[in-house]
């Protein structure tokens, strides 16, 4: 394949024509060249300022004016910084209520910068030389001598080091360089976190554990040297108060966390797995027998952690009894085991069985039957 063009630039166009546009081919058709030839740079057209001193003077003034605007804006920035309070608001057209200091500082900073920028560009365009310059290119490839020289240097180096004649050195060096980074890598990976991913942690939630039963003095009750526990109650998020079955009126929705979550070492890590949504439905609308069994008169509790990538499934539509995840719109049908009816999630939200204790509060007799939240390899 040929180059895009020929390097030689003829001074005259190959085919000339007069200004009016009715062209006359200078050569006979039989002798017309196979390609047009590069006509070379077009004649330079002077700007007004190049010939007219008044125009040049005008440009000079415009550039100076832009630079002056910049200086004025800089001073205004300082004044705004000193004068405007941190929490003053102003009402501007279109933008509405805005933070006065931010707008004042932003606009003055912008003007100060734009004044310099536009001034410099205007200066370059109107007063600096505007005649194009031609620079030659050279092929990227080095000359043959240079390449030969390179090969000579490198093979000379190999020769001098005797690396090819002493395989023992060659291979031990390769080995040493091959593994020298292992200690650094080991330290880094070893130190970043538990290497043996504690998959048990992904498979369980706080609902699998109980809270200590307190005796009359408010101390944990002990039996056989062990703390006696009872299952955790469902508590309102964020108030942390227990919920009576009678509080859960038809159509209501409660965001729920397990009792005692704030006494754990890392409450956030527990919340992210144990969050539950409690919904009261008409019992006869529930299609699945298991779901009815695990609920109480149509009050059911499901994990609030999306089985897609783990956002909290916070949007409940009462009329359709659908739970919607705002992250990627996975939709779960609360009337039917929270199966996925739309969206990218695959698995239903796991249900949490609930019961009422002697004081009338809701509690979870045991944890979820399957891991909650996003899928992971070892989930199986």
């Amino acid at each position: 394949m040929t180059d895009d063009t020929d390097a030689s630039i003829p001074k005259e166009p190959a085919v000339s024509q007069d200004e009016s546009g009715s062209a006359v081919a200078t050569r006979d058709e039989q002798h017309a060249p196979a390609h047009f030839e590069n006509p070379g740079l077009p004649p330079h057209v002077h700007r007004l300022g190049d010939t007219d001193p008044a125009a040049a003077k005008r440009s000079e003034r415009q550039v100076a004016a832009l630079f002056t605007i910049s200086m004025v804006a800089t001073v205004l920035f300082v004044i705004a910084y000193a004068m405007i309070g941190k929490d003053a608001d102003v009402i501007l057209p279109i933008l509405g209520k805005v933070h006065a200091l931010n707008v004042a500082l932003g606009v003055t900073l912008a003007l100060s910068l734009l004044g310099i920028g536009l001034g410099a560009i205007h200066w370059a365009k109107t007063l600096m030389p505007d005649e194009e310059v031609v620079e030659e290119r050279h092929p990227m490839r080095s000359s043959d001598e240079a390449r030969a020289g390179f090969v000579a240097v490198m093979s000379g180096g190999a020769e001098g080091s005797q690396i090819n004649r002493r395989p023992l050195i060659k291979y031990t060096l390769g080995g040493a360089l091959g593994i020298f980074a292992v200690p650094l890598g080991l330290q880094l990976i070893g130190g970043l976190g538990p290497i043996r991913g504690d998959v048990h942690d992904l498979k369980t939630t706080l609902w699998d554990t109980g809270v200590p039963v307190l005796n009359a003095d408010g101390k944990p009750e002990m039996r056989d040297g062990k703390v006696v526990t009872r299952p955790r109650r469902l508590m309102r998020d964020p108030d942390g108060t227990a919920i009576r079955l009678s509080d859960v009126t038809l159509g209501s929705v409660f965001h729920v966390l397990p009792e005692g979550i704030n006494d754990t070492p890392e409450p956030s890590n527990e919340k992210v797995k144990a969050a539950v949504i409690l919904i009261a439905m008409q019992e006869n609308l529930i299609k699945s027998a298991r779901e009815r069994d695990w609920g109480l008169n149509g009050v059911v509790a499901f994990s609030k952690i999306c089985t897609h990538v783990g956002c909290s499934v916070g949007l409940y539509e009462q009329t359709t009894h659908h739970l919607l995840c705002p992250c990627h719109q996975s939709t779960f049908d609360v009337a039917d085991d929270c199966k996925v009816i739309f969206g990218p999630a695959k698995r239903p939200l796991p249900q949490l069985q609930i019961e009422v204790d002697d004081d009338g509060y809701l509690y979870a007799p045991h944890g979820f039957e399957q891991p909650v939240g996003p899928s992971f390899w070892e989930r199986g």
């Binding site: 081919a25 410099a120 600096m128 991913g197 504690d198 783990g310 969206g343 695959k346 698995r347």
Partner: protein, 598 residues
């Protein structure tokens, strides 16, 4: 302008500049500046190198400013980001808010979130710096993407610039990751949700997913470590990588010298433009201030990421319409389109392809495809020349079509990221929208490819037409016999050159599968594949006009010529004469002198 006129203009211009010189201090050694320069040069010998750099020529074109915008945004990011580090506290430690923003008073939050609210509310001008930083991050990624499009559609990735194409791709990827991590730092509700989703992505990786998650988060999600670790990555690791790669990128631009569009006087062996000193320095330096100024203006007027309204991250809370920054939108859109049935259990292990494809595999795959494209094109054309003249996109219909198809694919993923917003705004069912996007993701790129390719071919035909028959002037002319023509103005040699300076590669012929003895030739299959791809790329081709064709067009308004050659079925078109006859019986007319006489 006549030669004499030009001469006069020259001397006047020189006279004006001569004036400047008279005013300058007449100091032989260059004054104090010269003294400093001399001091430095005696210790570094840099005068030669710097004067070489200062004389370097840069061609001018608006599309070359896209890379510049990316460069300046990077600088603005470094400056504004450094400011932010003075107040930001990269810690997940719990604290109670006591600052001046009333709605959050007494709320428990991480120090990272509290310090971000502090910067926004209690550090004077802090909000401006935060908004400059965020806006310039968005501008940075947009300008990188547009810069990349310009490089692709003009063929600037061809030899010798393949390395720079790949460095550019790495920069684009790092820029996105850097943006995502920066977005995560304030630990507000939206960014926490983003990290939560990211952990979900990581868990979907087969075999090592859980390990990676535990290492990255230093244990279970969210833990205490992620924000300090992200901080180091965001302010040290990735900026160092970005600056290093960017420096290599720009050095290669210097070494290769910038490409230029074809035009009179421009060849593959020269570069025509303005020298660094003073014109380019003033324009580029000025442009930095313009980009910075525009960013500051937007940051002053348009609020972005008002984290105090979202509140601190609470794993149990969520807001509707939660969306990542725009550049992550396409990955989010992919996650919305991938159907759930792609997840299954096999060998007691969970394979979540519904997540993995969009969140883990897509970006590396797309980047690999983009990375190998220059090499595929080179293999198809068999072209080993250096290319310094850019292609006009229309002159490479197949490449332009492929690029637009890729942009369409991207655009649909991006739109899918807003499927909930579209559903609400247009009162449509989200199921229908999602289904439509799923189909469009496959069909639209194919349609767009075909349409764009046809469009390029028509534009090329229009170029030929313009060249052969001149520009319509709107001026009517009456012949002796009372017929009307519109006069067409012939292009001059300079205008013409812009339209003919390109090569239209021919598809390579199918090589015989066997040699002369009837034995299968080695590598024949590979060559046949190559011939087939080459056929696909170049079967529809339009050649630049030759002088012969031009002459023929002038001699004969009825010239019939092959405007598009199919290798299989030679197809010929018909081009009408140099003037369009208006309301006449005769289809083609010509206002050339011989026509006027009849």
């Amino acid at each position: 302008m006549t030669a004499v006129g030009q001469e006069r203009a020259h001397s006047t211009a020189d006279a004006l500049r001569a004036d400047d010189k008279k005013d300058a201090p007449a100091n032989k050694d260059g004054g104090p500046v010269g003294a400093v320069a001399s001091w430095v040069d005696e210790r570094t010998g840099s005068a030669k190198g710097i004067s070489y750099l200062m004389k370097k020529v840069f061609p001018d074109h608006w599309s070359f400013m896209l890379g510049e915008i990316a460069m300046y945004s990077l600088i603005i990011l470094l400056i504004s980001g450094t400011f932010l580090t003075f107040w930001f506290v990269p810690s997940m430690g719990e604290t109670t808010y006591t600052g001046s923003y009333v709605p959050l008073k007494g709320v428990q939050m991480s120090e990272a979130f509290a310090s971000t609210v502090h910067i926004s509310m209690d550090v004077k001008g802090g909000l401006l710096i935060r908004q400059i930083h965020h806006w310039s991050a968005l501008i940075f990624v947009v300008s990188i993407a547009l810069h990349m499009f310009r490089v692709f559609f003009t063929g600037a990735f061809r030899k010798p610039r393949e390395i720079n194409w790949i460095i550019g791709l790495l920069l684009a990827m790092l820029a996105m990751v850097e943006g995502f991590i920066g977005y995560s730092l304030p630990d507000d509700l939206l960014s926490g949700t983003g990290i939560r989703a990211m952990q979900g992505f990581i868990l979907s990786i087969p075999v090592i997913g859980t390990y990676v998650s535990y290492l990255l988060f230093g244990g279970g999600f969210p833990g205490q470590d992620i924000i300090p670790r992200f901080f180091t990555i965001h302010v040290l690791l990735l900026p160092a990588a970005l600056i290093g790669l960017f420096t290599a990128h720009i050095i290669l631009v210097m070494v290769h010298k910038h490409t230029q569009y074809p035009g009179p006087g421009r060849t593959n062996k020269n570069v025509v433009g303005f020298p660094m000193m003073p014109v380019y320095a003033a324009k580029a330096g000025g442009f930095f201030f313009v980009v910075f100024g525009v960013t500051a203006l937007i940051a002053g007027l348009v609020s972005i990421n008002p984290i105090w309204m979202y509140g601190p991250y609470e794993p149990t809370m969520i807001t509707a319409g939660s969306q990542p920054d725009w550049y992550m939108g396409f990955a989010d859109g992919a996650l919305r389109l991938l159907p759930g049935f792609l997840e299954f259990n096999l060998f007691h292990r969970t394979w979540s392809f519904n997540i993995m494809i969009g969140a883990i595999l897509m970006i590396p795959i797309l980047w690999t495809v983009m990375g190998v494209y220059p090499f595929i094109e080179k293999w198809v054309t068999g072209d080993n020349e250096e290319h310094h003249l850019l292609d006009r996109p229309r002159n490479r219909p197949t490449r332009t079509g492929l690029g637009m198809a890729a942009i369409t694919f991207y655009g649909i993923l991006f739109a899918a990221c807003g499927n909930d917003i579209i559903a609400i705004k247009f009162d449509l069912s989200i199921d229908d929208i999602t289904e439509t996007f799923r189909v469009a993701l496959i069909v639209a790129p194919i349609v767009v490819f075909w349409v764009v390719k046809r469009l390029c071919l028509s534009l090329q035909r229009a170029d030929r037409d313009l060249l052969l028959h001149g520009r319509e002037t709107g001026r009517l002319m009456r012949t002796g016999k009372g017929r009307f023509f519109e006069v067409h103005q012939e292009l001059d040699a300079y205008q013409r050159w812009r339209l003919v300076d390109f090569v239209s590669p021919e598809p390579m012929g199918l090589p015989p599968a066997t040699d002369e003895h009837g034995v299968r030739r080695k590598g024949a299959r590979k060559e046949r594949l190559r011939a087939r791809v080459s056929h696909y790329f170049f079967k529809d081709r339009i050649e630049p006009v030759t002088p012969l064709e031009l002459a023929a067009a002038h001699h004969d308004g009825h010239a019939t010529e092959a405007i598009e050659s199919h290798p299989d079925e030679a197809e010929s078109g018909h081009i009408h004469g140099g003037a369009e006859e208006i309301g006449a019986s005769h289809a083609y007319g010509h206002p050339a002198p011989h026509d006027k006489q009849d």
